[in-house]
Symmetry: C2
Subunit: 440 residues, 2 copies
Amino acid sequence: MIEYRNLRVALLGGGSVGAQVAALLLEHGDELANRSGAGLELVGVAVRDLDAERTPAIPKHLLTTNAEELILGADIVVELMGGLEPAREYILQAINSGADVITANKALLATHGPELFEAAEQVGAQLYYEAAVGGAIPIIRPLRDSLAGDRVTRILGIVNGTTNFILDRMDVHHDTLEAALATATELGYAEADPTADVGGYDAAQKAAILASLAFHTTVPLEAVHREGITEITAEQVDAARKAGYVVKLLAICERIAIEGRDGEYGVSARVHPALVPVAHPLAAVHGANNAVFVQAEAAGDLMFYGAGAGGRETASAVLGDLVSAARRHVIGGPGIAESTHATIEVLPMSSVRTRYQITLSVIDEPGVLATIASLFSEHGVSVEAVSQSVSDGKNLASPTATLVIVTHEATESSLATTVAALGSNSVVSSVVSVLRVEGV
Amino acid sequence: MIEYRNLRVALLGGGSVGAQVAALLLEHGDELANRSGAGLELVGVAVRDLDAERTPAIPKHLLTTNAEELILGADIVVELMGGLEPAREYILQAINSGADVITANKALLATHGPELFEAAEQVGAQLYYEAAVGGAIPIIRPLRDSLAGDRVTRILGIVNGTTNFILDRMDVHHDTLEAALATATELGYAEADPTADVGGYDAAQKAAILASLAFHTTVPLEAVHREGITEITAEQVDAARKAGYVVKLLAICERIAIEGRDGEYGVSARVHPALVPVAHPLAAVHGANNAVFVQAEAAGDLMFYGAGAGGRETASAVLGDLVSAARRHVIGGPGIAESTHATIEVLPMSSVRTRYQITLSVIDEPGVLATIASLFSEHGVSVEAVSQSVSDGKNLASPTATLVIVTHEATESSLATTVAALGSNSVVSSVVSVLRVEGV
């Protein structure tokens, strides 16, 4: 057997991912050493309390509550605690003591990414975060390295497994949102407080990370437009299916030509439910799976698919980063700086252009369609298709019809003024639903 | 503007990929420099003759027929000539002169990979080959880095766009193989001599590369079992669709427990047409697209999807490698050795276990099903499902029926003896079709 030098690995956090990372490190140590060119010695796991019941996979003698001491003696620090503090402080401490850092902490990266990358660059350390987006799916490395010579133009990502599970249940089982969420909670796909998931907060953090990486600029979390799935109804999902779409919560990152400034581009990041055509590869992503669809100028359309969460799955991504960090230690030299030195304007939601599906309940009388059509054209929104369903006949005194209108691309701002005008027009009983259409 | 040191890039080959790489290098030079930390100066493109008509994107003053001189002055050599010689010789020359090498040459890697990797390791150079498998799809880097801490157990890849286009036409348009091939040729998806594609040779080269990388061992091209799609009939494709499958040409790489040797594993690589359930993500890969489905112990199921060929698409992968090579030059230090130091036994096709669908034309009389069933069980092959179609009634004197049998997992060798026994049994008029079933 070859003798390798040992690298000291410190784990911060002994939750489900941490326990799996520890177990795999201890179990596959020899294999990992062969692939890294260095032994990976787990020197300790920092936890909040030493009650080992929650972490049976971690040998008791490795557990400690003294994270700072553990960090000081480590070559590689793996942060799996989550949350902003003390995770941020510990990572800065690790970087400044010369360690490479691996983290799965999307909230921290979306909030303090630039500060952490800057600190790493100052001392020539490297920060790895493959596990922060898409769980086991390799997406960070492909964007950072494989597509580094190309120009990414758009990312459409299903990056939150909980909401995909819920929307998939609503589509396949015709569940209500409440019933689907209850099932998700029961099966462990949703947390007791599901706000971070169903409110789109988790997806927004991932959108900020993906946009920053794909466009080589800093896209702050505050600049990500965010809508959750809480307003999505079973009726919308069923109507979407009949019209040839599925409803997905998408994280969308785009490079957009700036209107009126010839040849200049900005970027935008947004999270909201959207209609995706059934033939699109993203429509086939079921259950709690994740997928990231990437469009690049030369590469064309790419998709990365897999389990978006899970302790063992996420541990796979962490261990891939560990091997990379170990290989780098063996070679020596400084880390590769995040190439976010470009400063590209981050555009507000109002400048995004997309298609919309608008469902209206209208008075069923001659001339209504013409009234609606001219209202769209007055606001500069071009209509691609209209379908009208028969009157429901429930109220014979004032019969209504349902109009479903799909627009060509329009800006959010012109759509907003159109919808406002529709709402106040006398032939419109109500604006039933407004959904963006993506991936066409 | 930041001033970077310049790295001298030499291009060998001015075909469709080479021309695109040159064009993108010249067009996006500043962006690539920002991402690499070094300027990428295209110092020349070696071509066989200087007739620039075929390569309008390459400025004439960059063209040369003297590849050896070009290589000597380069920091990074990009080999896009294809073929075994002189590509092999030029790459060795580049490595020995201290350059990093990028290649898209799957034939060369599958045939002489170990020699080239060994040469690179000797001098601390690095060999990049993201473009050799799956065109624009990042698959080499995810296998090499992202999954380096995991254990890949199986790869199912659609890695040849031509055959996927043909089989997809047969499925969707009910074309014959000949008609589908003619369309592929007409649209530029098949070459004048389609043997490398339809015979499975191209896919076998990619299988050897993927298996070597995924299992960290050397899987020689000769060890890859290879069957093409030339025997696939329109009837088989239609019958498969009715039974809930699509026919795909798959490159399959597996880690297999060795029978009778407790705890020991071997690897196997094979290329053949297979039935894939319609619900499997690979079944939705249409046209000339590629996709690689990877199963790993911790990560679970992953899929990588995109354009498998095309000059511009492949150039994207080459440029990603170029940025990686440039970053490495900026940092200094030796390259990362291919971790193929493990020596894992490569198993023959006879030890592969999979499921089979066997279609038989049998004499339509009582007791036939019992005869067939006992014949399977005598050979140790367990039957999962049998369906019998009604007699076709064409020949009333000796009516026949069609039996479609799907087996549980069995070894190739027991299947082969079963099929031989079926063929010589008097109740069997003919063995119509034997296809492997994968991805269940």
